[in-house]
């Protein structure tokens, strides 16, 4: 069975600016070959998962305010099925890391990530989480959260506008749509490496 390019309701495939990595993921899946039954089941799972993404409230600074705007009436995250912001990592699907991560906060973020149930995703929201941003030269700021946890979507901006946050959310939805959960999850190995890294 052929894996198709991901389609989401809100935006056309061509309108996204960076389609290369999605193409690459699709090609990778197709090269491996997909069983029809498993493939169909996967599609169903992916469809349901990508449309009910529950975020984990993790705001450390400015971006968190924009995230609150995202939840409020004008932008209304509920349109994407992502309004159920959870306060416990156990109940969340993805962590949208809003704001600078400092050396003191880093172990806490790592632990929170490890507490989330699989499948879990990470959006690095704002310049600070992508690279350290304006605080890159500081003595106690982590230069990008990808040093600690794996990141699925990078979202620049200081802070990003709510529209940009939606773009990142849709990118994540597209990514989930081309993930193979049954018969060999194509991302699981990498995550485990990350998880054991700090402990050894």
């Amino acid at each position: 069975m052929e894996v198709k390019k991901p389609h989401i309701k809100s935006m056309k495939y061509e309108d996204f600016k960076d389609n290369e990595y999605i193409d690459q993921l699709v090609a990778e899946l197709n090269a491996g070959g997909v069983n029809v039954v498993v493939g169909k089941l996967d599609q169903l799972l992916n469809w349901s998962r990508s449309n009910s993404l529950w975020p984990f409230c993790f705001g450390t600074s400015c971006c968190a305010i924009e995230f609150m705007c995202l939840g409020a009436a004008r932008y209304d995250m509920a349109r994407f099925g992502a309004e159920v912001a959870r306060n416990s990592p156990r109940q969340a699907d993805y962590i949208m890391c809003q704001g600078t991560i400092t050396y003191r906060m880093a172990p806490a973020l790592k632990r929170l990530y490890e507490q989330m149930a699989e499948p879990k995703y990470v959006i690095a929201c704002g310049a600070c989480t992508v690279s350290g941003g304006p605080f890159k030269n500081s003595y106690c700021v982590v230069k990008g959260i990808d040093e600690i946890i794996p990141v699925d979507v990078y979202l620049p901006g200081c802070p990003p506008r709510p529209e940009a946050m939606f773009y990142a959310l849709m990118q994540l939805q597209r990514k989930i749509k081309v993930t193979k959960f049954l018969g060999g999850a194509n991302r699981k190995e990498k995550r485990l490496e990350y998880v054991t890294d700090g402990k050894d």
Binding site: C57, F58, G59, T60, S61, C62, A64, I65, E66, M68, C69, A72, A73, R74, N87, G99, T100, T102, Y103, R104, M105, A106, P107, A108, K110, R111, L112, P134, F135, N137, S138, Y139, C140, V141, V142, E147, I148, C158, P159, R161, G198
Partner: protein, 549 residues
């Protein structure tokens, strides 16, 4: 000033005076400092410690203490230094002004200055296993010394006090933060109701809070150190990322401080635009604090109402500055660009809408039985305590402290405007909430007057014509304070008059209002229910990145 000099000379043998700056500078030895501090407070009524700035002058380490008399609004500053760089020690004044407790811990963290007789000499921002003190000029920045540690930080069960005996010998005495039989629960650093990453170690007796140990620094980004590596115009960006709910106001403050040092005259119209932006920011901030306070008590609908009006203000920022948050609009000598042609129309519209909807907020929340029961008489802060802990802003005014900088030390164009300082005397959570709601009405009043003034203004000047391309400050130090949305925000700049073309500040200190606010969490939550801890902290309303900087 001469009169004040005589009075201080009578209090302490041979102080050195320097009255050339904006405020009187008193230099004393550490040995006399504590006695002078007590006398200043009790005899001359300098009852509030506005700011404590740790300093490294290369040959000596020390502190600048900015003191104010809340009755006459007089300001003096005192310099105390020690030449011992190996083991710098000063006498603590935390028993004179309670706010010095956290301020001195900050100075210890940044400079390694040990304060004798301080009750709780621990680091404030950095991990307990951090090597070195980052703001010292001889700090070793080698990343191998302080790598990114992913192991969990050990709990600090012990703290210490450095006690001096009669012979002047100083010894360290360890003591426990919590007793063995205390039941301690941990709130944070990741908790939805701490408004960011703040951690409280809370000792409980049943449901009653016995003690709160504030563990801060989870979003300490080292802004003051970063500023020392940048030129003055570059440092402006960090002010917006400390208290992001007072971005314009903080940036305005730093601009004012640099302009004061350079003697730049800002055009009337430019100053007016800045003032209007400040007031819009204040409205936006108070609306957010309304939204968060209501949501923390379970009134989710009210949160949506608050955010509905905030979008109006964001639209005004968006059209004029090109960004919704972190606008980078004020600059040295004025503002970056002229306002949008529809600016005045938009502001008037926003004022009308918010004024109309304020009634709705009261209907929704203020009269609610649950809200009243949870806020009236809870989290009491008396006037004396508020002054002692240097609580300013709406929280201070709710306790009856006359502390609005717009009235006490009018800056910008505030003396041209007609508005009232909102005061309350109850000092509980409800009073803090109501002061914010009433302050919004005053902000609307100021904005309406400003709209008329801006329309009457001739020309379209928005920046001073003669701002030097390279900003170079003469040697000296300056302090500027403004009324930010959560209290008095102060900027301290010390320049060494470096003749190099790209001059960098020798030291830049930001005295953030929230740093003082977090100091009263223990005081106000004690003997209240654990559930009220959330309401009280929400009504005090601090922004965590502003505490940690």
């Amino acid at each position: 000033m001469a009169e004040l000099k005589d009075k201080i000379s009578a209090l302490c043998p041979q102080p050195q005076f320097d009255s050339e700056g904006e405020f009187l500078l008193v230099t004393v030895d550490d040995a006399q400092w504590h006695a002078l501090a007590v006398a200043l407070k009790e005899q001359l009524h300098f009852d509030q410690l506005m700011a404590l700035v740790g300093m490294d002058w290369k040959d000596s380490l020390g502190c600048m203490y900015y003191l104010t008399n809340t009755a006459t609004q007089e300001i003096i500053h005192v310099k105390v230094a020690t030449t011992d760089r190996e083991k710098p020690m000063l006498h603590s004044v935390s028993d004179v002004w309670a706010v010095a407790n956290f301020q001195e811990r900050e100075a210890y963290d940044f400079f390694g200055i040990v304060f004798i007789n301080h009750p709780d000499m621990r680091r404030f921002f950095l991990r307990s296993d951090w090597v070195g003190h980052p703001l010292r000029k001889d700090y070793d920045e080698n990343p191998e010394l302080n790598p990114l540690r992913l192991d969990d930080e050990p709990n600090e069960d012990y703290t210490c006090t450095w006690v001096e005996d009669e012979n002047g010998k100083v010894t360290k005495v360890d003591k426990k933060v919590f007793e063995d039989d205390e039941y301690v629960i941990n709130i944070g650093p990741q908790h939805p109701s701490t408004h960011g990453v703040m951690r409280y170690r809370t000792s409980l007796d049943g449901e009653i809070v016995k003690k709160v140990d504030v563990v801060s620094g989870y979003i300490h980004r080292g802004i003051e150190k970063l500023c020392e590596g940048l030129t003055y115009p570059q440092t402006l960006l960090y002010t917006e990322r400390m208290d992001y709910m007072a971005a314009h106001i903080n940036r305005h403050c730093l601009c004012l401080c640099i302009e004061k040092a350079l003697g730049i005259e800002v055009p009337h119209r430019a100053e007016l635009i800045r003032l209007m932006m400040d007031e819009l920011m204040r409205l936006s901030s108070h609306l957010l604090s309304y939204g968060c306070l209501t949501m923390d008590q379970g009134a989710t609908t009210a949160f949506f109402y608050g955010f509905r009006e905030r979008e109006l203000i964001y639209d005004i920022f968006d059209r004029t500055c090109g960004a919704r948050m972190s606008m980078s609009y004020a600059t040295i000598g004025g503002v970056v660009a002229d306002v949008h042609p529809d600016f005045v129309k938009d502001v008037r519209h926003a004022c009308d809408v918010i004024e109309k909807n304020l009634k709705e907020y009261h209907q929704l929340f203020t009269g609610n039985v649950i809200a009243r029961n949870r806020m009236i008489g809870v989290g009491l802060l008396s006037r004396e305590q508020a002054i002692d802990y240097a609580i300013t802003g709406p929280s201070g005014r709710a306790s009856g402290v006359h502390c609005d900088v717009r009235k006490t030390h009018p800056y910008s164009l505030y003396d041209e405007f007609e508005f009232d300082e909102v005061l309350d005397t109850a000092g509980d959570s409800m009073a803090r909430y109501m002061v914010r709601m009433r302050e919004m009405e005053q902000s609307i009043k100021i904005l309406r007057q400003a709209c008329d003034k801006l329309e009457a203004e001739e020309g379209n000047e928005f920046v001073a014509p003669k701002v030097p391309k390279l900003i170079k400050l003469p040697a000296g130090h300056w302090y500027q304070q403004v009324e930010a949305s959560r209290g008095t925000f102060g900027v301290y700049i010390e320049s060494d008059g470096d003749p190099k073309p790209f001059q960098k500040p020798y030291r830049m200190h930001f005295q953030s209002p929230c740093f003082n606010l977090v100091g009263v969490v223990d005081l106000t939550c004690r003997d209240n229910m654990i559930a009220d801890l959330i309401t009280i902290t929400a009504s005090i309303d601090f922004v965590i990145p502003d505490i940690d900087r």
